[in-house]
Every structure is written in C-alpha cells, then in structure tokens.
C-alpha cells in the first residue's frame, strides 16, 4: 500500500494562531496519511513548532480546524461553531498522540521505568504488571534496558531523549509528534536518537517531525513541508522539495542550512 492511498490521519484546514497581535500561524492546510513521515522544515520563528503544538491542543487555535483520526482535537462541532472540550475529553483525545520535546521533559522525580508507566497506569488504567512489562520491552527497543531504575538526571541527553520516545510509545499512539528532538543534543548524540526515529518510521508509525536535520528528512521522510512566516511555502516528496525546490524562499533556506 502506498502512502497516497492510505487513509488520512491528520487533516488541518485554515489553522490560525496568534500570540496577542503576533500572528504565528496564518492559515495552514495539511494532510498526513496513516504511516506517513512528514518533516516540517523552516527558519526559526516560522511557526512550525507552534503548529505542531496545535495538533495535540497544547496551543489553542484561533481559527480553522485540525482533526486526528476523524476527531477534532480539543473541540466539538455544533453547526458552524466549535466549542472547546472539557479537560477530561481533551486529555482522552491527546492520549492517542505521542509527543517528543526538544528539552526531553522527563519527570525528574521518577525513575526511567516510572516515567514510562505513569500515563499507561493513570490514564489507560493498565495493570502495573503489564505496564511494567511493556515499558521494559520499549526500553529494550531503544537500547536502554539497563537504565530502567536510573533517574533521568543521570542519563546523557541522547539517552534521555530515547527514554522520552519510549515514554510516548508506551501509550500506543496513532501519531507521533517530534518537536526538534535533536536540537538540544551534543552533536555526537544526535545519531542515536535519529536511529530510534528511523526504526519507528520503518515500523510504519505516522510521524510529524519538526527538525533541522536535512539529512534525516531526505532519507526518512515521505513528505517534506517547508514553512515560512506561518504559512506552508511548499510541500512534496523530499526529492522534489530538497533537490528541486520551486520557491525562492525554500532555495535560500536550503542554501543556508546545507
């Protein structure tokens, strides 16, 4: 099955987001299909991280709609109005969307294993025994089985980020969002995190990745989307957007980062 024929998982239409008078996202349309890996590129301040945070309603949008697996995120539609959902309903919709942050955001007062089982037990009401067993499998998959009882502070940045990916996967998400996952890492640690992400992509996970790693985008992405000043400038397969960009803004950005 090719990506083009897979069912749509994420659909954004006319998404706007402003902080005060500062329009950060100004009308984004985007479609991501099941199993697709989309890399969002763009200069800093182009609104790509903000847009990513809108997808799981960490930021409220001012206009437009975003739906994941056919459900609006954070809102309920009644006629032509969107009503914001209650906290519990938002939380339940978010639990199907995994997110990995630039600054890892592991819970420092919990061990690695406790980080992984917290949400499955509290949100999914899984039994502690099965949650722990699954957490150990996931840690093994990211190569950190022996760190289960360590506290996050004792791990390197690369190890912390791999734990953060495992923590998100513990919720069995339909979609994974990555917000500049390697930007806070020392250069020699970037590879181990990208390897884990590459493995995830190979397993068919749907991923939206905000990144500055052009190499990763070229190699792993099905679609590369270039954003600037809050809008999508161009989008397409990496061969097209990275090798033969149609727009001047894309060309000048790539010239700077490559």
């Amino acid at each position: 099955m090719t990506i083009e024929s897979a069912p749509v998982l994420v659909e954004a239409r006319g998404v706007h987001k402003a902080y005060g008078s500062n329009l950060v996202v100004r009308g984004i349309d985007m479609t991501v299909r099941t199993g697709e890996v989309m890399c969002l590129l763009g200069p800093s301040g182009s609104g790509k991280s903000t847009f990513l945070r809108c997808i799981n309603h960490l930021e409220k949008i001012d206009a437009g709609t975003i739906s994941v697996a056919g459900e609006l995120v954070g809102y309920r539609r009644q006629g032509d109005r969107l009503h914001e959902l209650r906290d519990a309903e938002i939380a339940s919709r978010r639990s199907d969307i995994g997110m990995v942050f630039q600054s890892f955001n592991l819970f420092p007062h919990m061990t690695v294993l406790e980080n992984l089982v917290e949400a499955p037990i509290r949100v999914r009401r899984e039994s502690p025994t099965s949650a722990r067993a699954r957490a150990r499998e996931l840690l093994d998959a990211v190569g950190l089985a022996e760190k289960a009882d360590a506290y996050p502070r004792s791990l390197s940045g690369g190890q912390q980020q791999r734990v953060a990916i495992a923590r998100a996967l513990a919720m069995r998400p339909k979609l994974m969002l990555f917000d500049e996952p390697t930007s806070a890492l020392d250069p020699e640690l970037v590879g181990e995190v990208l390897d884990v992400m590459r493995g995830l992509a190979d397993d068919g996970m749907t991923m939206i990745v905000v990144t500055h790693e052009i190499g990763f985008a070229r190699e792993v992405a099905d679609t590369v989307t270039f954003m600037d000043e809050g809008v999508v400038v161009e989008s397409g397969p990496p061969t097209q957007v990275l090798r033969a960009p149609q727009h001047e803004r894309t060309r000048s950005f790539l010239a700077k980062v490559l």
Binding site: S103, H109, R122, R153, A168
Partner: protein, 319 residues
Amino acid sequence: MPGSEAAPSPAAAIRVVPVRHYGQWVATALVLLVAGLIAVSLLTNPRYQWDLVFSYVFNAQILAGLATTMWLTVIAMVLGVVIGVVMALARESSNVVVSTAASAYVAFFRGTPLLVQLIFWFNLAALYPVVSIGIPFGPTLFTESTNVLITPFLAAVLGLGLNEGAYMSEIVRAGLQSVDSGQTDAAHALGMKKSQTFRRIVLPQAMRVIIPPTGNETISMLKTTSLVSVIAIPELLWQAQAIYSRTYQVVPLLITVSLWYLLLTTVLSIGQYYLERHVTRGDSRRTDRTLLGMIARGIVPRHAPVAPAGETSTERTSP
C-alpha cells in the same frame, strides 16, 4: 602515579607550603577566649541558679504550657499551609478579581506586625459585638456574641494561622513556579488531566522547593507562639511568667523555657533534615548538608538558604 616509580622526578622532592592564614589563628584564639569566659561565668555566677532551672524543667505548669505551645504550633501551621496553598493557587488564577484579592490578603497580613494582629483578633468584639449567620441582606439564622465565639485560644489560632498563610502562600507559589512548564506540557501530551498533572507531576517537584522553607516556618512558628502570652494563652512562656510573678525567679524560669524551646527546635531540625533528604531523591544537585548544620539552622533558622526560585523573601519583621 604510574611513571613516578620508574623515574623519580626531581619535582617530587619539592614541598608545597599552603598560605598561612594568620587572621584565622587570631579569630580562633578570640573565639576560644570568649567561649571560655562564657563557660566560667555560667558555672560560677550563682545568680543563674541552675538548681532552680532544672527543678522547673518537669514542673506540671511548665509541661502544661509546653503542650499548649506544641498544639498551637501544629494547628497554626496546618491552617497556614492550607491557606497558603489556596492563596498561591488564587494568585496564579487567570481571574483578575481572585488574584488581586489574594495579593491583597498577602500584602495585609505580611505588612502588619503579628503582635498587632493577635491583639486585634483578641479585641474583635470591640469592632463586631455579635456574629450573625444568615442570607446577605435577608433573614438571620444564627446570632452569637463575638466574645463567646472568639475565645482567646481561637484568637491565637486565627492570628497565627492567617499570618502564616500569607507567608506560606509565597513559599508555595515559588515552589509551583519552580516547576518547568515543559513538565506540564509532557504530562498533558501523555493524556493526563489537569488534576492528575498537578498531583502527580507538578506538586511532587514543587515540594522540593516548598519543604525546606516550610520546615523553617514551623521552627519559627514554635518560637512565635510565645507572642500569644500577651493575650493570656497559657502557653510555655505565659506559664513561666505566671510562676515568676509569684516567686520572682525570673531568670531561672526564662532559662528553663529556653531549654525547652531549644530542645523542640532541635528535634524539628532533625526531622526536617530527613524530610528534605527524602524529597530531593533523584536530584543530583541535592545538597548533602550535615546533620549538625541542620541543627544549627534550627537555632538560627532565619539564616537558612532561601528557596532556589529565590524570588520570594520570607523574612518577617521581628515583632
């Protein structure tokens, strides 16, 4: 050193002589001199009347006062922590009316002397002779004289607790603000509800910042309760005063009382040490303070380090 055996370097023979700190020798001599003078005076000045001091340690009246002091400390601190958490959350509220009211509360109770507040609560009847419960501008369901309702003990609890609440709200707020917003993001992204995020993620991390100054507040409260002797609450100091107003043994009784305060603050400091060690687990920056250091903090608790967030000052003006 692996290489040094094979070929002893001439550098190995050179001795390192540290800088001599003559000032420190002088300071040490001075401290020892003063300590010696104090010790001699304590042992030889008969007016200390040590036999009297120790004869009063387990006096029934003193022990009753001690029990009242401990009760007051516990009740006032519990009230203070509850008010503190509520006021901290109110100050962070997006509702301007609520947050302003909380700020006003803190400003008022921190801005006026505790002793004045205590006397004020004691004299509340002068301002409101009766307390009525009813529907505002409607019928009254219950009426009672203020002097009956606000007993001296209740006035003391209200005065100490409401004042403490203002200080605790600043401590709790600094604690909540010390938790990175990425932590809430991560918890929300995992599908945790706001209440779960607060309870499981934010509060445990805030506690590291909240617990140490709260321990200091408790130690401080234990000593501050002596203020309520002015509104005739029979706590430790008041009982001592009651005895020495009959016997004129002022100094021995004040020493007895001081020994009890010192013992209790020491016990609290040790408890604080273990509690802090417990809440900072997993924190590599955790401070390995010595037990003796903690006891010293109990004796001089106002010199304790301020919470890492640092924005909140918890000094209070001495009454």
